[in-house]
Amino acid sequence: MHEVKELLKIGPSVINIGVRDFGESLKKQGVEVTHLEWEPPRVVDQEITDILDKLL
């Protein structure tokens, strides 16, 4: 668990999920960033996604 206060004190250390430019912009500011290569799940039906979420 990361204390929120720590986030404000030492600054962000980021996992970037989605728009790559957000990660790039943070990196340029000297922030440590790991970019998660996200793609939409192939199972697109929300109900099935929800059921799988509950099962797994």
């Binding site: 929120v4 962000p12 996992i15 728009v19």
Partner: protein, 516 residues
């Protein structure tokens, strides 16, 4: 005019990348419009509305990219035949990549924040996983349901974590700008904001005043609604109260839900640090928020910044509201050049908050405004692409952004709108905003300058004159550089005001005695 379509199968690209592709293609000679979208059901419906034949995109899935181009036949074909060159990513500085959250946390175990900007329907899932792993969350994505937002915020609250968003555009945490943020120096003023561009202007004005920001925490546009109840705002206020760097706390917001008012007032009244509030939207609303006398309440972002700066500098008096009296000389000469039938104001905004605030200022001056996002008492434009009488249009609203890049990234639609307004002989003044900072267009003023000059020429050839009034949200530390942007605008005769509120007030001054 010719159209063409290309489908890239099984290739996912994020929305900002696709906006940049569309912007690049539409800047090619002979191309009138370009759209690049993932093939989701919503986007397919949109493309069909735009004239794409259903059978052309029938087999397209949400993992395919659709590129739709309008223009002269030969350039359209040229682009489509070489489409892959538009999808080559520039060299990335992001060396470290992962495919799952667990993998990412193995690479970077000290991570403390997830920045999430995936499409809305998947966003809640990613945000929950991040919270479960103990990360705070900056959730840029919109189109997250109210139920999902509430559930995420309740969970974050239980876990003692901060969630900024959904629909959170900006934050500055310990000096780091996240999302669409401006480069500002660090200092003693902490700010919580429901509005993205509102926070950007506030932090920029504080920097311009020679002071600095400790933290700027975005909460997402719905946080203070009764459905959500202010979870992120209250958490942010607590954090700023406990933050040793923060000496003064500012809240920039739109009107909270009626049931959330009392809780908000209680929270602000209990705060042990000085507080300044700026609740946009309705001046009379302020009376319902029962705040203790020492809390300074303001009506505009500029006024909030002026008061916050004064308090931090040791002056605790409430400053009078902003005034444009000293700027009237600048419009006097230009007003004389207007033809007698030129009487309307047209606001073309990239920042939703600026459009909202300008309408509030018009309401205070009893001027009726037509808008695609009307404030209570104003008139909704039946067609967002066509202004009526005095109009203020938020070009970043969904109607425009579902098929075109956001105006903060690409000013193409704003350019077209400026020219369209200039062809209306009754228009006297065009009000604009320019937003600098991380993620914004590299040269917003330079991009719009040719359209502004052309618009002035159109009115002049018709025996009239067109007044342009603008504000620029940004700082000298932003890569676009505030001073350079101001120079571009001033060189082409745009009257640039110190804030969006000043700009709106001066534009209202131009038309206020010309309504009958």
């Amino acid at each position: 005019m010719s159209t063409g379509i290309k489908i890239k199968k099984n290739s996912y690209f994020d929305s900002v990348f696709l906006m940049q592709v569309a912007k690049g293609i539409s800047n090619e000679p002979g191309i009138d419009q370009a759209i690049a979208l993932m093939g989701t059901e919503n986007n397919k419906t949109l493309l069909i509305k735009m004239g794409v034949k259903e059978k052309e995109i029938d087999a397209v899935s949400s993992n395919d990219v659709v590129i739709f181009i309008e223009g002269n036949k030969s350039p359209v074909n040229l682009v489509l035949n070489n489409i892959d060159r538009w999808f080559i990513r520039k060299a990335t500085s992001l060396q470290t990549r992962a495919h799952t959250m667990d993998e990412a946390l193995t690479i970077q175990p000290k991570a403390n924040l997830a920045v999430i900007s995936v499409p809305g329907r998947y966003a809640a899932r990613e945000a929950r996983e991040a919270l479960e792993k103990g990360l705070n969350v900056f959730l840029f994505s919109n189109n997250v349901s109210v139920e999902e937002e509430l559930s995420l915020k309740q969970y974050a609250d239980q876990q003692g974590l901060l969630i900024m968003g959904p629909d959170c555009g900006t934050a500055i945490i310990a000096g780091v700008g996240i999302g669409f943020a401006n480069s500002v120096r660090r200092g003693k003023i902490g700010v919580v904001g429901v509005t993205g561009t509102g926070l950007q202007e506030f932090t920029s004005l504080i920097h311009q005043a020679g002071l600095g920001i400790s933290q700027a925490i975005g909460t997402g546009s719905r946080d203070l609604s009764d459905e959500i109840g202010g979870f992120s705002t209250f958490k942010a206020l607590e954090l700023l109260e406990g933050d040793p760097e923060t000496e003064l706390i500012v809240l920039v917001s739109k009107p909270p839900g009626i049931k959330t008012l009392d809780n908000l007032a209680k929270k602000l009244n209990q705060c042990s640090k000085p507080v300044v509030t700026c609740i946009l939207g309705a001046r009379q609303f302020r009376k319902k928020l029962k705040l203790k006398q020492s809390i300074v309440s303001t009506d505009t972002i500029a006024e909030a910044a002026m008061n916050a700066a004064a308090i931090v500098e040791g002056k605790s008096i409430k400053l009078p509201g902003i005034s444009v009296t000293n700027y009237l000389g600048r419009i006097k000469k230009e007003k004389k050049l207007l033809a007698t039938n030129q009487r309307y104001l047209r606001g073309i905004f990239a920042g939703g908050t600026f459009c909202y605030q300008a309408q509030q200022l018009a309401a205070a001056g009893d001027l009726q405004i037509h808008s695609n996002v009307p404030l209570a008492g104003m008139i909704k434009l039946t067609d967002p692409t066509t202004s009526m009488a005095n109009s203020m249009v938020d070009m970043g609203e969904d109607y425009f952004t579902q098929s075109s890049p956001h105006p903060m990234i690409d000013s193409r639609l704003s350019k077209k709108r400026i020219i369209k307004e200039a062809h209306d002989p009754e228009v006297a003044v065009i009000l604009l905003d320019f937003i600098l900072g991380f993620m914004s267009s590299e040269n917003p003023a330079g991009e719009l300058a040719p359209a502004i000059m052309e618009a002035k020429k159109i009115r002049k050839n018709d025996g009239g004159h067109l007044i342009f009034i603008a504000s620029v949200c940004g700082t000298d530390l932003d890569t676009q550089n505030l001073k350079e942007q101001l120079n571009i605008l001033e060189e082409i005769g745009v009257i640039v005001m110190p804030s969006s509120a000043h700009a709106a007030l001066l534009a209202l001054e131009v038309v206020k005695d010309r309504q009958n």
